[in-house]
């Protein structure tokens, strides 16, 4: 049964997810177009199984007839079949079509492919330079047809290349961004993706930019766009304004890919730099590490002296980030081994003896009234402080206290006999000296009047010290 090519292509397109395996095979084998017949048959079988799973037995039959190798050969979709070696060669446009469906697997144009395109356009230029452009001349017609084919080829391939590079770049960039740098697998995956990006950048992006730049100097020939423009100029000189315009537009169209490729270059450059930076980091650490390793080996001689790398060694002093860092030592005040306790005891013993002797001799001991008064005042003050501290030990700061002075004032007023504002200040000192006590001052001004005195202050709010500093 002979089934026409449109129906065959329709089946291939419908099962394109399976047929892109053929492109994968070609790519994996460096562009080898001879595909094992077995691979083709297995793809057809998969397509039949997929339909069978949905219960379309008629469709299974149809696929079997439509995609039969002999049918494809008759319809020139397979251009060669070698049963002896078990291989077949698909028509180039079928492979190109499958590539089109598999943008992720498409490659950019390599240096060799770009060179081939440029070479073709240069050949066209030479051909037109050798003869005047007479559109009635069959040779010129053939050359023109070839030129148009070459321009179309260049445009088509550039477009495919941009799409392929974009898809691959996006995929790899996602891989890099989403990896967990803390895991080994993530690190390996990221490193692979970065290397791949670097390869794309070096192998496809840079040559493409070079190809599209009209200023690039090549060993042989001129840039592709310049070649097309020169042919256009020749057409203008030979009085073919229509052809001139057509070719100028074609040259512009090719050149317009500079924007796309440059956008790709900018997008990938960050990752290329990251890859380069990683290698540089590795090398820098390796270099410093080798220096310290050499220093280690130098110092380990048989005598076991100089066991440690000297601090002044370059491997320790470079890069000098922590030059001079150390724990500072402060000399303690020397008390010359005086035992102060023994001194006080000795003084007290002697003084008591003196006073006893004085009492025995004079019958009484005189005490300096000014000093005695002072001591009594100090004693009273100390007792008052103890009293306040004892009260505060049982006091809890009220919840949501907005004014520490007022709270303490109220508490002390009701609990401390003979309370004065001095006592409030003493109590505040005591509370604020507590190690875990935090507070902040509010920007307000309050006043407490008690007895004949008044205290003006900024209210203190306990418990929020981490946000504000003490400023009262």
């Amino acid at each position: 049964m002979n089934i026409k090519s449109p129906f065959v292509l329709k089946q291939i397109i419908e099962h394109r997810q399976l047929f892109t395996q053929l492109v994968a095979y070609i790519e994996e084998n460096d562009g080898d177009v001879e595909i094992p017949s077995q691979l083709y048959r297995s793809i057809v079988r998969q397509a039949i199984q997929a339909e069978a799973a949905q219960g379309n037995s008629r469709e299974c039959e149809r696929i079997r007839y439509t995609l039969a190798e002999d049918n494809l050969l008759r319809e020139r979709l397979i251009i060669r079949k070698d049963p002896g070696r078990g291989t077949l060669v698909l028509a180039p446009f079928v492979v190109d079509m499958l590539r089109h469906f598999d943008v992720g697997r498409m490659r950019g144009l390599s240096q060799a492919e770009l060179e081939d395109l440029r070479d073709g356009l240069n050949q066209s230029l030479t051909a037109f330079q050798e003869q005047s452009i007479d559109l009635e001349n069959d040779n010129v017609k053939d050359e023109l047809r070839l030129l148009r084919r070459r321009i179309q080829d260049t445009l088509g391939k550039m477009q495919e290349s941009v799409a392929a590079l974009e898809a691959q770049g996006d995929h790899l960039a996602d891989l890099v961004e989403q990896q967990d740098v803390g895991s080994l697998e993530g690190a390996a995956e990221t490193r692979r993706a970065l290397e791949h990006i670097n390869r794309i950048y070096q192998r496809y992006i840079l040559p493409a930019l070079e190809f599209l730049d009209p200023k690039t100097r090549f060993k042989q020939g001129i840039p592709a766009i310049t070649a097309v423009r020169r042919i256009a100029n020749l057409a203008a000189e030979n009085d073919h304004p229509g052809l001139n315009e057509e070719l100028q537009f074609a040259a512009n169209a090719i050149q317009s890919y500079v924007k796309d490729i440059d956008a790709l270059r900018l997008a990938l450059e960050r990752y290329v730099r990251q890859d380069r930076q990683q290698r540089r980091q590795y090398d820098a650490i390796e270099q410093a590490f080798n220096a310290i390793r050499l220093a280690t080996e130098e110092r380990h001689d048989d005598s076991f002296r100089n066991l440690y790398i000297p601090v002044r060694h370059p491997s320790i002093q470079s890069p000098g980030t922590f030059a001079g860092i150390k724990r500072m030592r402060f000399n303690r005040l020397e008390w010359h081994d005086i035992d102060h306790r023994a001194d006080i005891e000795e003084f007290t013993d002697r003084r008591i003896e003196e006073l006893r002797a004085q009492l025995d001799q004079a019958g009484s001991v005189t005490v300096d009234p000014a000093r005695a008064g002072l001591s009594e005042a100090e004693l009273r003050e100390q007792l008052r402080q103890h009293e306040i501290q004892a009260l505060l030990e049982t006091w809890v700061i009220p919840d949501h206290c907005q004014d520490l002075h007022a709270s303490l004032h109220d508490y002390l007023c009701s609990h401390l006999e003979g309370y004065t504002l001095n006592d409030l200040l003493e109590a505040l000192d005591w509370v604020m000296a507590l190690p875990d006590f935090h507070f902040h001052a509010r920007f307000q001004h309050h006043e407490i009047a008690h007895g004949e005195l008044a205290l003006s202050y900024h209210p203190l709010i306990p418990g929020e010290a981490h946000t504000k500093e003490i400023t009262a």
């Binding site: 890069p319 860092i325 150390k326």
Partner: protein
Amino acid sequence: MTDTPLSHDANPGRPVVNRRRSQEAFRKLTAGQVINQTQYENGQLVPNPLFDELYKERDRYYIEAYANMGMELVQRPGFFYVRTLNEAQSEDDSRDQESSGAIRQIQGVLLVLGRGVLEKGFMFDALTHPDAGISREILDSIGNDPTLVQILKACKMDQPLPEAVKVALVDRDIAFFNAKGNLVLAEAGKAFFDDLFTEYQPGE
């Protein structure tokens, strides 16, 4: 320290010093620790108030205050530390093995760590990302390499790598352990490697 406000032509105005932070910073710096720009708190990096305090009044107050005590307050990208101000004192101190050997320990451990992490196949970022870090198991496995052990010993670090890392880096705030218990470099640790990368000349 003087009660007279320090004035500087380039930085007029009276310095506003937070005494509590100033004292804490002094205690840390003189204990051989660094003060980083950020600190790890509750699983994230937050600004370090001690760094802010030093940075805020660095020129108007702290540089001179430390100089008056014979110390140089050194600011590097992302962190502060102190060292002896004058050379003569530094010479004296160089005989003090314990304190001047700090740089040898720090540098030795950082290099062993950096090299070990890359050798294990990790990216350098694993050392600096606060959520990533290097686990104790990996530190143990890096520390098993006899060459690295030898280098640590030559830097006067006899402990296994995880302990050496704690003594030389974590106790000095050059690195910290994150919520997972993994070791991460603080700004000071990063600055060391940044200096190394900047200084690196390929082909040397």
